[in-house]
Symmetry: C2
Subunit: 375 residues, 2 copies
């Protein structure tokens, strides 16, 4: 049961597009936000809750699952879907982001990347082939090529050298990739340099992948730069294939990057913010721990229909969060993911109506207030 993507509609005024993902007898609409389940669990949530919130694809981290419980155990369990009891589509990353966050430049060679096992300090070696082999065993529906996620800012010459290696890695991965039930995606890198992004995208397309990701964003760059990086990538990608912007989930970034042709997004923000007591609302992000919510017996957001807002008050959730009761983080995670899913609903509706730019402007006014500047 290979996942299928159909492009249904393209905005006339922007690069925004609507599509459908068919998987396992069900259909999921794009643009879509994918919650992150690092350890084969979207932190604090059950698979049933994800379904209730309306999640489609979810993401799991290859690097973490490689270390624990190990890809062989997940394979024996019947793959990630059975292991975590999630019947929607699952995307696994490549471990490439850990190249960026855990390895030192000297640990990166043509062959692969040397890591320290964060659990026991053991030396680990991840190669493009190993990454694909692990993901084959995990049995996700979308597999990512192994890449180097470059820091920002980064010198042109380093980026140029790095993307050539990333392209060779993508090719090596594709050569050993063998699973009729999975899709394999290439990852466009190239920093903020249009010629490098273009070159990387075009070379990946020549190798031929089932879809394309945009990497190297959300690594400290400003929003203007991020949007440029995305545009420099989507411009050179084939229309009929899924486009995935990695690690981006700030509400405004979802809208802006849909306008630049992105279909799917992932980000740990909604669950991480939840654990720290933050909630998205229709009029901006709030810190639930704020003393003013002590006696606020209203839901997080009166306009929200999520389980948390239908059943619990800000006063109660504030109490749970301040007492480190895990139900607090759970209720906020439900709310925050639900918020992003409903934002994507609005985005799709406005693409179809041809009003996404107007929606973006209204959203900014409503969410950030007057005077917001990022363009």
């Amino acid at each position: 049961m290979k996942l299928k993507f159909n492009l249904n509609y393209e905005d006339k005024k922007s690069m925004a597009r609507c599509g459908t993902i068919s998987f396992n007898g069900k259909e999921y609409e794009t643009p879509m936000f994918m919650p992150v389940g690092t350890n084969a669990t979207v932190k604090t949530l059950s698979s049933e809750e994800l379904k209730d919130i309306g999640s489609g694809i979810i993401l799991a981290n290859t690097y973490h699952l490689w270390l624990a419980p190990g890809e062989d155990i997940i394979k024996k369990a019947g793959g990630l879907h059975k292991f975590m009891n999630y019947d929607g589509p699952i995307l696994t990353d490549s471990g490439g982001y850990q190249v960026f966050s855990l390895a030192k430049p000297k640990d990166i060679s043509e062959e692969g990347v040397k890591f320290k096992n964060i659990i026991n300090g053991d030396s680990l070696f991840l190669t493009p082939e190993k990454s694909i082999e692990i993901q084959n065993k995990l049995g996700s529906d979308i597999v990512m090529s192994f890449d180097e996620c470059i820091a920002w800012p980064c010198e042109y010459d380093y980026v140029k050298t790095s993307i050539e290696r990333t392209l060779r890695w993508a090719k090596r991965g594709k050569e050993i990739f063998k699973n009729d039930n999975q899709l394999l995606f290439g990852i466009v890198q190239g920093g903020e340099y249009e010629d490098l992004r273009k070159h990387c995208a075009e070379e990946l397309v020549k190798i031929g992948f089932d879809g394309y990701a945009i990497g190297g964003t959300s690594v400290g760059e400003d929003k203007k730069t991020m949007y440029k990086m995305v545009l420099y990538s989507t411009k050179y990608l084939p229309k009929e294939k899924l486009r995935y912007l990695m690690g981006v989930g700030d509400p405004i970034d979802l809208i802006e990057n849909v306008l630049r042709g992105v279909d799917i997004f992932d980000c740990v923000a909604p669950t991480r913010l939840a654990r720290h007591g933050h909630a998205y609302t229709s009029s901006g992000k709030i810190n639930v721990k704020n003393a003013k919510y002590k006696e606020c017996f209203k839901p997080i957001d009166e306009k929200c229909n999520c389980y948390s807002c239908q059943n619990y008050t800000l006063s109660y959730i504030r109490h749970l969060i301040t007492k480190n009761e895990t139900l607090g983080a759970r209720l906020l995670s439900i709310h925050n993911i639900y918020f992003l899913h409903r934002l994507m609903d609005d985005i799709r509706e406005n693409i179809k109506k041809g009003t996404l730019e107007k929606y973006r402007d209204e959203f900014i006014l409503r969410y950030y207030g007057e005077g917001y500047e990022y363009k």
Copy 2:
């Protein structure tokens, strides 16, 4: 909507009994196990999950809620039920257990007990009147009298002096208790001394309460002593009133103490064990972290119909627990509380069939194996 208790059936061979609690248009059967929601949340679980598991009365801790968020906020929220969105009955303890666990003997006077606020080190003073006043504001359905929970072992003379004060405290509490929607319970203390337990029970009955609790158990005593303490209390309590054994939840203790005439129990064990990776099963308690479960793709207990056992494997739950993912503690909490509720179902069924002692013997063999000794 005052909670009502009806005694329906008494075992001919033992002191076991079956009853019905009517509350808010619903009926709940006794004997019953009550999960503990210290901070107005049964750790890791939502109110909806408690309902799904089949919970009836749940317990909340007066001492903790007094400190945070404070009884006035909960009163403004409309009481504990609205605050935590639980429509079943709620029992609050008196803070008396904290006398035992947090105060030093020199801090206990006729007037009340001096505490240190565990949050900020402030000096706090809790009196019988204050305890009742807080519980009135919390709006629980069963309110406990303020008592001194004595350590074990404890000298006869100290216990004798202490229960006289506990009786004076109970009387003072009753005098200021005023809430037509709540029941007030007295607490039988007296250590392991039958004459003191008898005296305490009889004097409490003279004052007159809506139900009676048995305190001073689960403080380090062996099972034989605990069962004696319970029997020395229930023997002298009126049949038509609810009897609550405080802080006891080991499966075998539930059976043994039902045989000694107890109706309701509370204990943090099912949720605390869950957080440490332990699960009750029909053939004994297991440690889910055990390496042998790494590749065990079966549920915690194949005979169990709980949400966790219907949807997740031991291998997955072990992975979650070892990675400190809160879903792991949640799945085990659901399972453990469900297990105790189903054990109570079995207990009630066997009372009605007149086979509870036989069930106890079979349970011991099944749960502990041959050679278990505690009598």
